[in-house]
Symmetry: C2
Subunit: 553 residues, 2 copies
C-alpha cells in the first residue's frame, strides 16, 4: 500500500522525475529542475565619463543584454527610477534581477549584493481555505508554509452562492468587488505571516503563482463570474497573461510577477492543471488517472501523448457537506472508522486525536463500507434494522433511522454523532456519480481500469480516504491498492513548481493545449452508468471481485 500520509511537507519539492518514481522521495536534484522564473545576472559596468554619456539605465541594460543572449530587457515604467538609482548607488556593479515573462525579460530590480534567497509565493486558492508556501526561487527550497481561511466565506460557503453574491450591489460596491477584496486581504494576511516567519517582508516577494478553481481565479482577478454557472458555462478568461503585482494592487514587490494557473473551462480549473504538473501525468509513458474530488469530481486520464478530462457533480457528501454530523477535514473530524463485522464494535480515529465533533468525507466512506460489511445496510444502502451488529446503535428519527457512530458521552458536544439514512443516501449518489464518471471517461478513450498504471488522488480526499473502503462501496474501481497514489495538495505543489521549474511552465502551456475536455452534462452514457452504480458495490458485482456481494440476502 502506498504511503497515504505523504504530503509535500519537506524543505524541497520533489523533482518531476522523483514525483513519478516515488512519492516518498523529497530531495530534488538541484541541477535537474531548479531553474528560476527570476534570475540574477552579475553586472559590472564601466563608470560613466565625459567620453561615455550613456544613461544609467541604458548602461545597465546594455551590459545585461549581452547576458541575455541579445534579448533587450524591458524596464516597467515604475521601476525605471528605483533600478537606475540602485545601479548608481551600487557603483555600477551588482546583480540585476530579471523576470522572464513569456514575451521577454523584464529588468525589475538591482541589488548591490547577491541575495541568499529570492522569495516566491505559491498559493492554493481554495473555496474554504487558502494554503500557501514560500519558496526560494534560487534553490527551490520551501521556506515556510501555512493556511488561512478564505475571507470570502462570509459571503457564501459554496461557489454558487458566491457567484450569485458577486452580482449584487453592496452600497457603492458590487459583490464581486467585495469578494475580490476579501481574497486579496486573506492572501495579504498569509503573505505577512509567512514572510514574518522567515524575517522577510511581503514587499520582498518577487513572484506569485495562484492555483485555484476557475471561479476562485475569477474572484482573484476580479472578473465577472456570471457565465461560469450558466450554460454553456464560459469563463471570461481561461489563460490570463502574467502581470505585475502592482497592477492588481497586491502588497508584494511592486514588480513581482503574478502567474495564474490556466483553466480548461468553468468546471476544470487551474488547480487541476497544477495536479497534472505535480503528478507528472503529462510525462508518463503508461496511461494514468488523476482524480480531484470536492463538490465536483474532476478527472484526467492520459499519458505523455494525450490527456482527456471531465468534471461532474459528485455531490457534497464527499466533502462532509451533507451528512448532518458532517464536517470538513479538521480537528475532531472522524477521518477513519472501523466497524468489526462480527461484533459490530466501532473504533474511530479523529484528526489531531481530539474529541469527536463530526465526520469528514473519508470517515463517511469508512463508515458506510463498514456498515455494508457488517450487513447493517444492504446493497442499496438501506438500514437492515434487525441486524444484530446494529443492536443499540439504531435510533428512529423523524426522517428514518440513524446509526449512532459515537454515543453522546464520548463527544465534545454532549450529543451523539449520527449517520442517518438521508446521509447514506447522499453518499450512495455521490459514489455512483464518482464511479460513473471514471467508467465513462475511460470508456470514451477505450481504456480499461486495468490499463491504468497509477491513479493519483489529489487533495484532502486523497490524503484521508482509504481506497480499500472506497472500493468496497464501489466508488473507486477494484484495483490493487498500490495503484492509488495520494498527491497531497497538488494544487499548491503545482503552483510552487511553476515558480521554481522552467520545465513546469513549459509543460503547463503544453498541457493546456493538449487536454481534451469531455462534457458530461450532455453525456448519455454517464446517465446510464449512474443508474447501474447505485448498488454496493455495483449492479454488475463481477466488476468488484474483491468485495463480498450480499445481493442474495
Amino acid at each position: 500500500m502506498a504511503s497515504w500520509s505523504y504530503t509535500y511537507h519537506s524543505g524541497v519539492y520533489p523533482s518531476r522525475k522523483a514525483s513519478l518514481l516515488s512519492p516518498d522521495l523529497n530531495v530534488a536534484n538541484k541541477g535537474d529542475v531548479m531553474q528560476s522564473l527570476i534570475k540574477l545576472y552579475h553586472i559590472e559596468s564601466r563608470q560613466p565619463s565625459l567620453g561615455d554619456n550613456t544613461g544609467d539605465l541604458d548602461r545597465l541594460k546594455k551590459v545585461l543584454c549581452s547576458s541575455l543572449q541579445g534579448q533587450n530587457p524591458v524596464v516597467p515604467f515604475q521601476r525605471v527610477a528605483p533600478v537606475a538609482k540602485a545601479f548608481r548607488q551600487s557603483g555600477f556593479k551588482g546583480y540585476a534581477v530579471v523576470i522572464h515573462y513569456p514575451n521577454g525579460p523584464q529588468l525589475v530590480d538591482f541589488l548591490a549584493q547577491a541575495p541568499e534567497t529570492l522569495v516566491g509565493l505559491a498559493l492554493d486558492l481554495g473555496t474554504t481555505h487558502i494554503e500557501a508556501s514560500l519558496v526560494d526561487l534560487l534553490s527551490g527550497k520551501t521556506l515556510a508554509r501555512g493556511t488561512v481561511e478564505n475571507g470570502q466565506l462570509e459571503f457564501g460557503t459554496d461557489i454558487l452562492a458566491r457567484i450569485h453574491f458577486a452580482a449584487t450591489k453592496v452600497g457603492r460596491q458590487t459583490g464581486l468587488d467585495l469578494l475580490h477584496e476579501r481574497v486579496i486581504a486573506s492572501i495579504h494576511a498569509l503573505a505577512l505571516e509567512l514572510t514574518r516567519r522567515i524575517r522577510r517582508k511581503p514587499g520582498q516577494i518577487m513572484a506569485l503563482c495562484v492555483s485555484g478553481n476557475t471561479t476562485m481565479a475569477h474572484f482573484f482577478l476580479k472578473q465577472n463570474p456570471h457565465h461560469l454557472c450558466r450554460e454553456p458555462y464560459i469563463p471570461v478568461v481561461n489563460r490570463p497573461d502574467p502581470f505585475s503585482a502592482s497592477e492588481l494592487g497586491l502588497d508584494l514587490h511592486p514588480a513581482a510577477i503574478v502567474i495564474v494557473m490556466p483553466s480548461i473551462g468553468s468546471y476544470f480549473g487551474g488547480d487541476l492543471i497544477s495536479g497534472i504538473i505535480a503528478s507528472g501525468l503529462d510525462q508518463q509513458e503508461e496511461t494514468c488517472m488523476l482524480i480531484d474530488v470536492g463538490t465536483n469530481a474532476e478527472v484526467v486520464v492520459g499519458n505523455r501523448d494525450w490527456l482527456i478530462a471531465c468534471a461532474g457533480a459528485a455531490g457534497p457528501a464527499l466533502e462532509g457537506g451533507v451528512a448532518r454530523m458532517g464536517m470538513r477535514a479538521g480537528p475532531g473530524a472522524i477521518e477513519h472508522c472501523t466497524i468489526y463485522p462480527d461484533s459490530g464494535k466501532v473504533e474511530y480515529q479523529t484528526i489531531g486525536g481530539a474529541s469527536a465533533r463530526g465526520i469528514c468525507g473519508s470517515g463517511v466512506i469508512d463508515l458506510v463500507a463498514g456498515l455494508y460489511l457488517a450487513r447493517i445496510i444492504d446493497i442499496r444502502g438501506k438500514f437492515r434494522a434487525n441486524q444484530p451488529q446494529a443492536a443499540g446503535r439504531l435510533l428512529e428519527q423523524q426522517d428514518g433511522l440513524a446509526y449512532v457512530v459515537v454515543p453522546s458521552e464520548e463527544t465534545d458536544l454532549g450529543e451523539p454523532i449520527l449517520l442517518s439514512q438521508v446521509d447514506i443516501d447522499a453518499l450512495m449518489r455521490s459514489k455512483a456519480a464518482m464511479y460513473s464518471i471514471l467508467a465513462t471517461i475511460t470508456n470514451q478513450v477505450g481504456v480499461s481500469f486495468h490499463d491504468l498504471h497509477r491513479i493519483y488522488v489529489a487533495g484532502a480526499f486523497g490524503k484521508h480516504i482509504s481506497p480499500r473502503q472506497a472500493i468496497i462501496l464501489g466508488m473507486l474501481p477494484d484495483l490493487p491498492l498500490e495503484v492509488y497514489t495520494p498527491l497531497g495538495n497538488s494544487s499548491l505543489a503545482g503552483a510552487a513548481l511553476m515558480l521554481i521549474d522552467d520545465e513546469a511552465r513549459k509543460r503547463c502551456t503544453d498541457v493546456v493545449a493538449k487536454v481534451t475536455y469531455l462534457e458530461l452534462n450532455v453525456n448519455q452514457e454517464f446517465m446510464l452508468r449512474f443508474s447501474g452504480s447505485r448498488i454496493i458495490p455495483h449492479t454488475d458485482h463481477t466488476l468488484f471481485p474483491s468485495v463480498p456481494f450480499y445481493g442474495e440476502s
Copy 2:
C-alpha cells in the same frame, strides 16, 4: 531661396520621401508610409457552446493570433475585463485594437464598429511651451493642433533653475514632484482642448509620443535630473521603454502607449532625434546638417551612412533672452528689421503685426547685421558713435551706448526699444560660438561646409531668422541661401511621424544606435575657433566672400 514660411501646418504630414524632395509637398501617399503603431483587426468568432468552452478572452486571442502571424497578443491586466466584456457584448465580432510594442502586440480594446479615426497625440515638450498635434493613426491626418504654456515656468524659466528646483522640498513633495505634476497638468489641458475641438475625449487618445530635450523628458518621466547638469552629465535614462498611459497616471485611454523620444545625452535630447526623423537626415545620400538653436546650439552632420552630433552653449542671445528688450518670438516681437545702409533708416516687422514690444532672436540678428552693413558697429561689434547713419539713434547709458530701434512714440510701452552695447556683445559671443561649433564638427569628420547639400534649421530659430543676415554676421557659413532649409517644429513633426509611420520608429532606433556624440566641453579645437570667430564676419574674412569686410576702417 527656400520657402521660409514652411511649417507642417497642413492636414497631412509629408511622407519621408516627400520631406526630402520638397518641403512644400504636404500630401502623403497613404500607401507609402501611413502604417499605424496601432492596428485594428477584424474579428469574427464562433459563438461559445457546450462543445467549445473556450473563455471569452481566449477565444478572441485565438482568432486574433492568426491575424498576427501566430504572435500571441498580451492583454494588460487592467484590460482583461473591459476587452472581454466588449467582445461578448458585440456578439463575438468586431474590431480588436492592438498596440504593437517593440516586444510584441498588446490587445487593449475591442470595438463593435470600425472607428473612423484612432486618435494619437504628438507632443513637443518645450521649456516654455508645449505644442501638440492630434493625429489620426489610421489615415495619418492631423486632426488638430495647439500650444499651451509649460506650467513649470513658475518654478524657473530656464532648465538649470528647474533642475535645482527639482532637488528642493516643498512641503511633503519634492520640487521634482511639482515639476512633474505641472507638465502633466499642462499636457492634460492641451489634450482636453484639442480633443474638444474634434468632439472627442482625452480618454480616446490611444497613443502619445513625447519629444523634448533630455531634462524635459526627465521631468515628464519623473526622473531625477540631478546629474544632467553635473559632469559627466549622465541622464537617468536615454531610451525609456514605451509604457502605458495608466502607469504614469495620464488621463488618456488607460492602455494608450506612451513613447518618449530617445535622447543621446544630457545635451542632445529627443527633440533633436525628432528633427533627424522629420528632416530625413538619416536617409540622405549626400551629407547634410541639422541645426537646432536655443540656449544651446545642437548640431548633427551626416547622411544615411553616418551621423555625428554635438551641442554647445550658444548663449541665450539667440532666444532673445539676454537683450534687455529681448523677448521670445511672440506677438509684438520684432522678428525682422532692415537698416538702410545709406540713410540709416530703420524698417521693422513684428510678429502678428502688433505694436513693437521687444526684439526676438531673429530681429537681433537682422539688427546687428544691419548695423554692421551701415557701419554703425565695427567688425568687433562696437558702436562707431560718429557714423552719420546713427545720427539721433545712439543714447549714452550707464553701461555704454545703446541704439534706438524703435522710438518711444511708436512702442506699446511708451519707452523706446533699445539695443545696447551689452546686448551686441552677447550676440557676438553667441554667433562666435555658433560658427565655431559648426566649423569644429565638420572639421572633425573631414567635411567642408561646401560639401553640405542642405542645412536644416529647426524650430522658431529656423522659422524666423534670415539666413542671409546670419551669414553677414558670420554666424552661419557663407553658402547659397537655398542650402538653408527651415524645418518648422521638427520636434513635433518627428513625434507625429513616430505615431503614424512604422518606418520612422525603425529609423529612430537606428539613428540612436548610429549617432556619434562629440563632446565640445573638452574640445581644444572649439576653443581656438571661438576666438577667431569674434569678428564680423570672421578673422579670416575670406571665409565669407559674399560679405563686405570693413576690417580696414
